[in-house]
Assembly symmetry: C2
Homo-oligomer: 241 residues x 2
């Protein structure tokens, strides 16, 4: 990640973090900008215009500029943005200057794949432990880590200072796992199980449901095929992410 911590223009003076209260929509796009910036850095470019970065991230350039302006003024008019500086700045904002430890619960079909997903390691995270409720799976080595029983969660979470948990269990087990994660001090959960989790205030939950994504696409398919039999054109652009 970042070596030097720039105290750029309008940088947070006196070591007090800014906490500029970013719009949620902006936060959701920052990771995309970050990925695009890393890609641009690899091609050897030192600076990039808002137009170029916006294209690489698949967004409107005005939106990108407004998003970045929320972090502070890190561009140079007439020139563009310093790629390395912007990478550092976004990584700091996202809290990626420290490599965060993640607990993964459920090493079934999907959990297995997640445990081996290189994208986590390369983008700021370290899968610190794997858990499962099935005693038959406990002890199994996956990607250099032994699966542990869910009952050890609290102990391991404390030892590894884990604050983020990933749930990749069947829906029926997900709420129990979420409760256990919260009890172990986890305050952010990524839920792959197709169900709603209830968690105490202060705990963030994000949900990824693969079937839902397909169902949304199905709707648009349905709509498109209905349109072909109607007079109006079939103008439709890629649906927002």
């Amino acid at each position: 990640m970042s070596q030097h911590r720039p105290t750029g223009p309008n940088g947070r003076p006196g070591g007090v973090p800014a906490l500029p209260d970013l719009p949620e929509a902006t936060v959701a796009r920052l990771p995309e900008y970050l990925r695009a910036l890393h890609h641009i850095a690899e091609t050897g470019n030192d600076t990039i215009s808002s137009e170029g970065l916006a294209a690489a991230a698949g967004v409107n350039s005005a939106k990108l500029r407004k998003d970045l302006s929320h972090l502070g003024s890190y561009g140079t008019r007439g020139v563009g943005y310093d790629v390395a500086l912007l990478i550092d700045q976004i990584e700091f904002t996202l809290g990626l200057d420290q490599r965060r430890a993640v607990a993964l619960v459920g090493v079934g079909n999907l959990g297995h794949a997640l445990a081996g997903y290189a994208g986590f390691a390369s983008r700021g995270f370290r899968i610190a432990a794997l858990f499962d409720a099935d005693q038959a799976r406990v002890g199994e080595p996956i990607n250099g880590l032994d699966v542990r029983h869910i009952s050890e969660l609290a102990e391991v979470a404390a030892a590894e200072s884990i604050a983020i948990g990933v749930i990749a269990t069947p829906a029926a087990a997900a709420q129990d796992v979420a409760d256990a994660l919260v009890a172990a001090g986890v305050t952010s959960i990524l839920n792959f199980a197709p169900c709603v989790l209830s968690v105490p205030e202060g705990v963030d939950v994000r949900k990824v449901d693969l079937a839902i994504e397909l169902q949304i696409l199905s709707f648009h398919e349905h709509r498109k095929s209905a349109l072909t039999s109607l007079p109006g054109g079939l103008a439709e652009e890629a649906v927002g992410t």
Copy 2:
């Protein structure tokens, strides 16, 4: 899925589909309502109030009512919604009354897991074919399906009338795969590769990036830990999905 196709109140008369031009935000929530409804149906309930369904789907009840009102008037005042009728209605709207064929490209770590994910089959989709560019993987049987070489894509897509494609390849290959899918007649793509795809007008793309989800959680972690050292309380609710 649905057996009978109800022509409910204000139902589309004369076989002309309604196409009520649903707000995109509503479309994105319908699958969640559908999942909750199936769950409620399993518990034996025939009707459900907006309050109850909203709780099961994790949303505000006013929002739920407005969403459902876009599909037409399928509730009964003083009573609630007929569960079976609503399921049929949402499935029709999402185009799930036909089981849609899906092509999965890339049977690496993640693709393997997706190929075996039971949630697709149980929620309206049929993985019709698996593809990979690596000749070493071609022929490998996964979950009852043989992996085929990507060059066969167009042929198979036509034979199986595949309109939806899933990309689970490395980012470097994703654009080529997307081009091949579009050439094969696919008009909806679910992209798991961490990159922006460019596709012609009329093709829908949805992106799922697992690392991005974690990075968004990381931001909130970062923010929470910064807040603990500040005067104000740490009030924060679960972040929107």
